[in-house]
Amino acid sequence: MKAVCWHGKNDMRVDNVPDPTIINDRDIIIRVTSTAICGSDLHIYNGYIPSMMAGDIVGHEFMGEIVETGKAITNLAKGDRVVIPFTIACGNCFFCKNDYFSCCDNSNPNAGIADKLYGFSPSGLFGYSHIYGGYAGGQAEYVRVPFADVGAFKVPDGLPDEKVLFLTDIFPTGYMAADNCGIKPGDTVAIWGCGPVGLFTIKSAFLLGAERVIAIDRFPERLQMAQNAGAEVLNYEKTSVIDELKARTGGMGPDHCIDAVGMEAHGHSPDHIMDKAMQLARLGTDRPHVLREAIMACRKAGTVSMPGVYGGFLDKIPFGAAFAKGLTFKMGQTHVHHYLPKLMEHVQEGRIDPSFLITHRLPLEDAPHGYKMFKEKTDNCIKVVLKP
């Protein structure tokens, strides 16, 4: 079968690889009908994710039709159309039982490595390096899905792929980012980043009852989409973010600040230049420019919500400000399984059409071009969907 494989920095290739097979009894094999490139795939593309090996199949936003089931699967059958959460969860450990699915104890076969890095290993992910389990990803014609009895979610009839594909990752990610804030009536939410996750965060904030959403980015097409979603916009290349947010909130600051940018933040300020220099010198690994702004801008006793992604260490975080203002930080990989049913219902009821942000549809073979376009944001690219 064909699959998108990483071969080094800025080097994704479509290789011919063996078809996947059932390995454990709770596996299924699906034939992929749609798959997307995620912003976090760009961290892999840009060479920032450690423990990748040339030849690894990437991709963690995918859905399709079941073609084979393992012996222990009783709730799914061949032919079922399913979406698959990007985090792999066993359903039986302490964390899964408490709905912290992305913290699953049992789904990372390389837990020993992750233990050393993080103290305890999070769940395995599809197509996201060996620290996260080394699982083959879903930008391919077929995928093996472990613990499918817990992961695979059947798609109700009548919903085309494009309306449900993003339930695998970015819609629940944006939703959890907003949910983590504990939005109350009258609240103002500031969101840095109007990429796909930021856009879903905007929509989710409104679904959760936010009064105002202020969205921050610099690309006109992304700001436009944010505006279409109901947000007020702020272009950080034209104005000072912290001052502007203070002014627009009557001197109080946003109640909640969401960093939908993560470790590869971009900016022009001195702290950002320092971040870049440190990365080149291999000192700090992440560039938390947005996080710093979020901390400074947030109102007292507010929430800073971080859907990610951060990988290593941060430098020079204004923790004194965070402490003095009594901020709450909430973060983490998305607990997709927890949110999927509710979000599927939102889609079914027509409260949101997730396909709004697709700008490019390409055949799987054009994935390398898709990656380049997505990274450089050429051709007004916001979200690329691949069709095997």
């Binding site: 079968m1 699959a3 494989c5 071969h7 080094g8 290739r13 290789d15 690889v17 063996p18 078809d19 996947p20 097979t21 390995i23 454990n24 009894d25 709770r26 060479g47 994710i49 450690p50 423990s51 990748m52 090996m53 040339a54 030849g55 690894d56 199949i57 222990a72 066993c90 359903g91 039986n92 450990c93 302490f94 039982k97 104890d105 049992n106 789904s107 990372n108 076969p109 390389n110 837990a111 020993g112 490595i113 395995g124 390096s129 060996h130 620290i131 389990g133 080394g134 699982y135 083959a136 391919a140 093996r144 472990p146 613990f147």
Partner: protein, 283 residues
Amino acid sequence: MSYSEAPASTYPVQSENPYGESRPVPVDPQGHVNVAPNERLASALIGVTLGWFALTKSDNNTGIRAPLAAFSSFLLYRSVTGNCPLYSALRTGTNGDTHSPSAVIPHGQGIRVEKAITIQKSATELYNFWRNFENLPRFMKHLEAVTVMDDTHSTWRAKAPMGQHVSWNAELIVDEPNQRIAWRSVEPMDIPNAGTVRFKELPAGRGTTVEVTLEYNPPAGMLGAMVAKLFGEEPGMQVEDDLRRFKQLMETGEISTNEGQSHGVQGHYKSPLGSDKDTKENP
């Protein structure tokens, strides 16, 4: 003799630490006798001879007196006291005595590993699975097979570094249902070893903590263990990985793996932390 009657200082010594910290056996603090009698005699003779040379040699020879004197002192020390500091450091010895009938590893020798893990299952389920020793190779990757012969005796066979095999017979010495199991090797055995597993159910539905203590006496003591470490077989990690697999098996019914899955043409380029070991998941 039942386990509870054994003298307090004997093996296996239970640790009260539930957090799974692996503590190496401390270097023998009491300087007990770890040199065999014949060896002590040889040590004494050679020590006296070298000492004589050290004291009487004229200074023509280039500075050999001091090292000779030091070495002879070392030999004399170990012959007089019966304790060789080098043996103590390597946690081995030639005296081969034990301090109790139930100890299979002499006092002050051997490697000891203690690890713990918490599993969302009852102590009963975990005890029942572990009590049938034939189940152990399903999650202890270095065990090839365990054959149970009767209620208290079993034969174990394991992989050793560099493609070797070791085997031993074991007998059950403690069996407290749903609480504790202890076993130790008996002759014939390639490597003396013993183990204990304790099951402690937690309140509020938090599952059961499984604490494992393993002791073994590799050939050449610490040196053997160091060689094993070089080959990536650090005992603490092994036990940790085994317990993780035990947890996966008990909680999910299977052991997570990506062995045998699909991938593209594997080149040599790796990002930092990528290594050949990455392609051999679940060694």
